[in-house]
């Protein structure tokens, strides 16, 4: 059973809401994914447009939890203020905390991330930190009060899948009791299945669904892959071997000379 901050979560696929071809396709993809947590953001509103309100109406009709993010924030101050504004706007103390270090790699600034996490946890937020696969940083985030960790598997939007599977396996092994979500870098359902087979508790993705040729079908494909990967993990898959092992019994083989 998956829990985030004491709340039971029925789907192991968290889905982003950006970059879809239309609001209708976003809505259909979200429903087809079976996801119960959608990530959202907040941006400057132009006077008189009501654009944010229209988007929010669409999300509310889906009857899911929202996980607001601090995407685009490059400083602790930006991230903390954005998180407070998100709490005010969305009525949730959940926050996907991003403190970005580089414009090009979108790599987390892990030093700022830990500092912002500490400030927000002390203020009552339930922080979901977007981090790297560095175990020491993960420990610092837990010390700061985080109860969920969200390591990347590749740069945001890169669709490369797990570029360092050994690091992800080690990360999982090091934090056995902590809910771990692979966030960012997944491109294909097989990537999601792979990290779920490693024992990660959930995945968070956006671009891989939103920018697919058929986002609705891809949402369902990821849903199945996540479920399959989880089931495989629980079924305890074989470890790889260097040599062949016959699958057909050799005892009782006829001898022909």
């Amino acid at each position: 059973m998956l829990e985030f901050y004491g709340e039971v979560i029925s789907s192991r696929l968290l889905l982003g809401t950006a970059q879809y071809p239309s609001p209708k396709i976003l809505s259909d993809a979200a429903m087809r994914s079976g996801s119960v947590i959608l990530t959202v953001s907040l941006r400057r509103e132009a006077a008189g447009t009501g654009a944010g309100g229209k988007f929010w109406d669409l999300i509310r009709q889906l009857n899911v939890r929202v996980l607001p993010n601090t995407a685009g924030c490059h400083s602790v101050k930006e991230a903390v203020t954005t998180a407070k504004m998100a709490r005010e706007l969305f009525g949730t103390d959940w926050i996907k905390l991003e403190v970005i270090g580089h414009h090009d790699s979108l790599q987390p600034d892990v030093f700022g991330l830990v500092e912002a996490a500490r400030i927000l946890c002390e203020d009552g937020f339930k922080v979901f930190p977007y981090t790297t696969d560095d175990i020491v940083v993960g420990e610092r985030l837990l010390e700061a009060g985080c109860q969920v960790l969200m390591p990347w598997c590749a740069p945001i939007g890169s669709a490369r899948g797990p570029v360092n599977p050994d690091a992800l396996r080690a990360y999982r092994a090091h934090f056995p009791g902590v809910p771990l979500v692979v966030d960012a870098g997944l491109g294909r359902p097989s990537h999601a299945a792979q990290v779920m087979e490693f024992g990660f508790d959930a995945v968070l993705l956006n671009t891989a669904v939103a920018k697919a040729g058929d986002p609705v079908a891809m949402a369902e494909a990821f849903s199945k892959a996540v479920e399959a990967g989880r089931q495989a993990f629980e079924a305890q898959p074989l470890d790889p071997r260097d040599m062949a092992v016959p699958s057909t019994p050799v005892i009782g083989m006829a001898v022909f000379e």
Partner: protein, 65 residues
């Protein structure tokens, strides 16, 4: 009075944040506001007095990953 509203300088007449939102024809229900990088909650807007040069951010929900 000149304010920096969502990054752009504007001349306004309102003296409070709630007045400013009315003056600029924003829809109040779906907004979060900040003054000089500090959150101003919906309940605080009416008593939030504006000063020349204040930086006001007016945000609303949008798509995110």
């Amino acid at each position: 009075m000149k304010l920096i509203i969502n990054g752009e300088e504007q001349e306004v007449t309102s003296s409070t944040l709630s007045g400013l939102l009315d003056e600029l024809a924003y829809e109040h229900d779906f907004l979060a506001t900040a003054r000089n990088s500090e959150l101003v909650s919906a309940e605080e807007r009416a008593s939030c007095e504006l000063l020349e040069g204040d930086r006001i951010e007016i945000l609303s929900p949008m798509q995110g990953g």
